[in-house]
Structures are given as C-alpha cells and as structure tokens.
Amino acid sequence: MFYSPVITNAEAVAKSDKLHLFNYVEDPKQIELKTYESRGGYKGWKKVLSSMDSNAVIDTVKQSGLRGRGGAGFPTGMKWGFVPKDSPKPRYLCCNADESEPGTCKDRVLLERDPHQVIEGMAIGSFAIKCHTMFLYIRGEFNHAIDIVEKAVEDAYARGHLGKNIYGSGYDLECIVHTGGGAYICGEETALLNSLEGERAMSRIRPPFPAVEGLYACPTIVNNVESLAAVVHIINKGPQWYKTFGTEKSAGSKLVSLSGHVKRPGNYEIELGFSLKDFIYDPEYGAGILDDKKLKGVIPGGASTPFLTPDMVDTPLDYESMAAVGSMLGSGAVIVFHEETCIIWVIYKLIHFFRHESCGKCTPCREGTGWLEKMVLKIMQGQGEPGDVEKIEDVCANILGRTICPLGDAAVMPIQSAIKHWRDEWQYAIDNGKTKYKNDFAFR
C-alpha cells in the first residue's frame, strides 16, 4: 500500500506530554478504528455527548486559547460562538482539508495517517454549534487520503460514532466527504462554501459572515483540519493543560511543514514559540542548509507570507513574534532557500501561482496578478527597464486591501517584502540585463 515517505517527529511527540497531534502518525495501524479506540479514541466525543452542553464545549475551547491553524489564526472557540443561538435554520460544519498553500503539507499527514482524530474533532465541533450535518472538504488530488478518510467515516458509522442517536444520546450527526477540483481558492472559507454548493469557487462579500449565513445561507463554521484535531485533546485533557505550553497568546502546539533547501525537510509538531532558527538548524528538525550553503531567506508561513532575512530567523514560531518581524505564522509552512537562489525567480514562482489561482472575481486581483507575473518575468529574462520595480510596487499597492478575499493580499505581500529586502538584486537585473543568480536548480 502507498505510504508517503515524509519525515515526521512522531517519536519525539510520543515522548512529550505536551505535543499530541503526531503521537501515532508513524504507526500504519492508527488508521484502523480499533487501534484508534484502543488509544483513547472517541473518548472525547463520548464525554461531550454524555456530560457537556454546547456552551460548555465552546467555553472549553475558548479557554484553551486555540487559534485557527489554517492561516488566519482566529480563535476557534470565539468563531463557534458567532453562530446565532436562536437561528431556526440548520447549521453546518465544514472541515477545510483543501490544503494547497505552497509549502504546506501538514494536514495531509493527519488525513492519511490519523483520520479518526480529524473525524472526532469534527464531531465535537459540530456538537458545539448544534450541527447535524458536517462536511469534510478534501482536495481532489488527495486520492489516497480520500480513500482513507472515506473508509474511516464508514467505520465510524458502523461503530455508532456517527449516524442517528449516537451512543443513545439522541444526537444525530451525518458526515459527508466532499472532494474538490484543484482550486487553491477553496481554502478561503467563502469560496469553499460556493464550491460545496456546486458553484464556481469564488469568494463572497462579507458580511454576512458564514457563521450567520454560510452554506445554503445557513449558519456555517469552517475550521482547518489541524484546529479540529487539536479540539479532541483539549476536550480530553482540559483547556488548562493546553495553555501550559506554547506562549501566552499562542497556546498549544502547531504542525509545521519544512521544505526547500534544508537537509531534513519534513512535517514536525512543535510547541508554539519554538525558535525558527533551531527549527532550521537543529539535527532533529531541518538539520541545516543543503550542501552547507549560507541561508539567504525564509518564507515562514506558506507562500503568501512576507520573507525573513537571515538576521530575522532568531524569532519564535508563534503568531505574535512572526507579526512583530513583519511576517505571519500563516498555515505553518517554512520554506528555506540558500545564498545562490535568485529572489526574482522565487517571486516569479509565487506570482505565477497566485495568478493561476486567482478566482477572477475582483478586478485588482484578476488583472493585477497577471500584470505582476509579466513584469517579474520580463525582469527575470533580462528585459527589465528603469522604473519597472516602481511599477511593480505601484500595482502591488493597488491590489493590497482592495479585494474581497485575502488572495490579492497574499499575492502581493511576498513581492513587497522581496523588493524591500533585496532591492539591489532587482536593480542588478535591470542594470545588467540578467539576474545575479541562475534561475534553476539541478534535478539530482
């Protein structure tokens, strides 16, 4: 059977009394319901149904300080609290498993290797908002994960963890696994809802917010895979336990994907506040830069977050510290590149992606990302003229904050930071008719 060769720190996680999400991801048996149950699986779900009401669940998650792990970092419990208590309409919970931010590959590990943890988290989240139909929106390319998750849902139904009158509590809960069509924009919650409704995945204007009018115009909560998985542990061990690690404003642990020019790329669970520098250089994690070259820059939170230069990497990986150095923790995706990397090429790669993934609804994003891609390519190919960089900055400034969803911002923030940190390299390309560094890397 297929098994992704990705490196994780499961062994270290199992020894830790704090880290928890990756406890069993190196055990192929963990995908089986029996194994999951034997390790305390669905205990949290039983506890919630037998002894808690929805407010108690929301309060518990609020107290834990859990923040959304998909990128925005919005407090999960607070989000749940926005669902109107008196709405007569059905409510829906959607687990966002449309993982597609370049650099991010953490949710896939949970889906492929510990699917019941995700399903249990979804169930608890559903109960918190009194929802009886929950959706797992999983990207269509994840064929293996889809098979694993569908089997897990089927097994959960068969054992009575899902379905009608669960554990005799009178609570009904249906779970629908919905596969996507390869659109990055579906990671944005309102686009995801449109996609789930069978429409083109275009973002919606807010308000109304999904918590009030989301899927089928009913109150809807969209949570990331990792956030929901964390909820299981918060319910089992209590919010106070969750707050004992991480930092004051960034409680708990985070899954972080490490990729690019490092010796040990992988997916690692870290305590929030862990040093980015150690994350890159510690032998247990990145183990340093490929071929022992010097570090040039880091994208700390996925393709849409601003760059960090080597003097900034001694920063803790948490929401506040990353914001303080002008970037974002994002979805937790550290991409590292060494001294011989052409920054204009990096930007070309990123803007090509965002131009391709722009849904086309807002003019600044639809047109602007195309212009930016062309201008960056022009400079990269040695055709840059004086004034081009300023023109790029001007277009960026006219996209930022002028679109319905954050894709426009995501496309321009890395460009702005690349010009800020490495303006001399852009100037060099314009002055010399070629880039300072080469634009490809050998396939070994």
Binding site: V6, I7, T133, G140, H178, G180, G182, G198, G260, G266
Partner: protein
Amino acid sequence: MILTYESVSQIKEKAARYPHRKSAVLPALTIACRQVGHLNNDLYREISEIINIPYIEVAEAATFYTLFPKKPVGKYYIMVCHNISCALVGADSMIKFLEEKLGIKKGETTKDGLFTLHSVECLASCATAPMLQINQDYYENLDSKKLSNLIDELKAKE
C-alpha cells in the same frame, strides 16, 4: 450515454446525500473524469440530467476547476508540481528530464497515447519534493534514477 451504469449509480448515491442536489456537481465531475479520463460537453449534459440541474450550471462549474482535463489525455497523465518548494530542489529540471525521456514537450501527449506531461500547482507534498502525480497516485522524493525507472516500468507494462 457515455457514463456507465456504475458511474451513474455512484453519482445518484452522492446526490441523494446532500441537502441540495447541486452540491453533487463536483463529486459527479470527479466520478465522470475517473471513468473517461477527461471531461466534455456531452458529459456535462449527462451529469445535468442525472442530478437534475441545468446543463449550463454543470459546464460553468466544470470549466472553473483545473483538476479535470477538458481534452483527452494519455493513459498515464503526469502532473509535475512546479511550485516553489519543488522548484527549489529541481522541479523545472525534472520537467526537462521528462520532456527528453518521453520525447514530448510539456502539454503534449506521446504518439502512442501512453503519456501526457503537464506541470501543475502545489500538490501539498512540499516536504517530499520534487514530486509528481500520475493519474491517482503521488510519487515523492524523486531523483533521476527513480523517475527513469518509474517511466520504464510503466512502458514495460504495455
């Protein structure tokens, strides 16, 4: 009808589960694409009749999503991730390697109809880069030897 009895049943089963039938559009497209290998107007029409929504609504959604090829592809549809994490470890050179190995350019299909080569956006396999997808499956941590063997194996199957 292009869709088989089995595909039609699968689509009907999916559609019945959703609170609103139109939600079954994406799953239906997925099922149709798995059967045929690509999508076209005839399939949109069949799907629209099965889930009982207007044809244009199926076509409108289908043409938005890049996962489904709109033209026939080879028996092995190779999708190479060319985004930043993969590109930093040689994805672009890997595409050139495949172009030479298969004797086609990116976007083309080999004359024997076996392979179609495309580059795609991030497949969420960044920590096992470079990587590619062939039909349903991921192939990760690739190097030239592994990839060369993989293509040879697929050719040998024929």
